[in-house]
Amino acid sequence: MGKVIFLFTLLCILVNAQDVSLEDKQQLQRECLQCHVEQQIPSTLIYRRYLMKYSTFERMQKAIFSYIKTPDQKHSIMPPQFFLKFPMKEALTLDDEKLQKMIECYLNTFDVKKKLVLPQ
């Protein structure tokens, strides 16, 4: 009986997590990445720039959150020349909790660690 309850609980969590993840991904695409696609600014490239500067998930999360709340050329991860071609983005209207979730989703989507494999 205990095993049945455990398996059921595990299944619920996985299904639920998958739903949230999909939903979050869709929302990330809608709220954030859509503009990047339209403006032809590769999101992977931006992620790699953040990764190269901030190294850890938490530091990147903090930096992205801070920039999105108050976009500023001085604190941007992109080089100054970038703003000659692209306008400064406007601050997002998403609430903090939602924004944090989107950032987490963004970082997880482009997480480079998942791509690393050992040589054969």
């Binding site: 500067k53 850890t56 938490e58 480079v112 660690k113 690393l116 494999v117 050992l118 040589p119």
Partner: protein, 386 residues
């Protein structure tokens, strides 16, 4: 080689070789630590080269947008990357290593090299490269040091022995000269002493006169001389002396020696008390027995008070000779049986009596025990069995 020379030489060699060994050990240890450090440095250079290689490959990977990124590894080493918070990202180690130190370090098995990565390609802030330590050059180094220590040890042992012999030569010459002198003197004394004693005996046996006091004094003096002669001969010949072990009736021997010393005891007005068990047999050389008893009795008489008491107790287990003499101070008791050691110089003698007693006791596995109180007397006990 003489005993004193041997013990001096042994002590010198112990101090000399001990200090040399310590000095060489310290020097070898410093050399070993330095040489090992150099060897590890050489191995670390390989790691430094590998780390630069990995860094450049990480840079390329960071710019790659392939679905899979093949981590740059190698067969001869392991590596791992860590983020700014020193959390493990990825690596080729079997077990995830922890990044606690920076730069380079090593443990029993592996050598580690840690470098910072700036900018943080793939989020990596630190790169750890590690390989198993190649211990063969270290083992060769240890082997060389051991051979060096052995060679140096043998050389300095030989040198120490040569120096020791050189330093003790004057002492050896002095002792040999003294021994030759004693040997020659005893040889020259033998004939006159024998002549005197034989003639006194003849006067006593065939003489028409009563034994006068003067004659008795001559007898005592001659016997003292004779006993000193016997002791010196015993000490001189002791090394080459071939003992003839036989069953000796020690009771009878004590009685005979008491008679021998009676004149000397009478001259000091001593009362002799004998408590002897009959026919106590010991397996020993009779000459050793005589020297043992003579020296104990002679000391007990010589250092006794005038009109004192000399008690001789012989049991199955031991012989005890008790006097009521001047006694020996506690501080002198420890070394009293060494040759030429005399606790009291008021009486004549060379201080060889107890040395002879000690030699006999050691030869037969007896146990010598001396107890004494100043101005009260001394008790010498010899236990036959250990």
């Amino acid at each position: 080689m003489l005993n004193s020379e041997q013990s001096s030489l042994v002590r010198f060699l112990l101090i000399y070789l001990g200090s040399t060994f310590l000095l060489f050990s310290l020097a070898s240890w410093i050399f070993y630590a330095s040489a090992k450090h150099d060897l590890l440095d050489q191995q670390r250079e390989t790691l430094e080269y590998q780390s630069e290689n990995i860094k450049s490959k990480l840079r390329l990977l960071h710019k790659s947008f392939d679905d899979t990124l093949i981590y740059p590894g190698g067969n001869s080493f392991d590596s791992a990357i860590f983020d700014l918070d020193k959390a493990y990202i990825f690596g080729t180690f079997e077990n995830k290593p922890t990044l606690e130190q920076s730069d380079h370090y090593y443990d029993e098995k592996r050598l580690y090299h840690v470098v910072k990565i700036e900018p943080h390609y793939l989020g990596a802030a630190y790169l750890m490269v590690s390989k198993e330590i190649d211990k063969s050059p270290i083992a060769t180094l240890q082997e060389k040091i051991i051979w060096f220590m052995l060679g140096a040890g043998l050389f300095f042992a030989a040198l120490g022995y040569f120096l020791g012999r050189l330093f003790t030569a004057p002492m050896r010459d002095s002792i040999e000269q003294m021994n030759h002198f004693i040997q020659d003197t005893t040889h020259e004394l033998n004939t006159p002493i024998s002549t005197i004693l034989t003639n006194i005996e003849m006067i006593e046996t065939y003489g028409k006169h009563e034994k006068s006091e003067e004659l008795q004094r001559i007898e005592i003096a001659s016997k003292t001389l004779s006993r000193i002669y016997e002791d010196l001969t015993y000490l001189n010949l002791n090394h080459d002396y071939h003992r003839q072990i036989e069953s000796v009736d020690i009771t009878k021997m004590i009685e005979e020696r008491i008679v021998y010393f009676s004149a000397m005891a009478q001259s000091r007005g001593l009362t002799i008390k004998l408590e002897l068990i009959p026919k106590k047999i010991l397996e020993m050389d009779p000459n050793d027995g005589v020297r043992l008893i003579d020296n104990l009795l002679s000391n007990a008489i010589k250092y006794n008070k005038t009109k004192g008491t000399l008690t001789v107790k012989l049991t199955e287990e031991s012989l005890r000779i008790i006097d009521t003499g001047i006694g020996i101070a506690q501080k002198d008791l420890k070394g009293i049986s060494k040759r030429f050691k005399r606790a009291n110089k008021s009486e004549g003698g060379f201080g060889i009596g107890l040395d002879i007693v000690n030699q006999v006791v050691n030869s037969y596995g007896f146990v010598l025990h001396i107890t004494s109180q100043l101005q009260k007397g001394t008790e010498v006990e010899i236990r036959w069995e250990k």
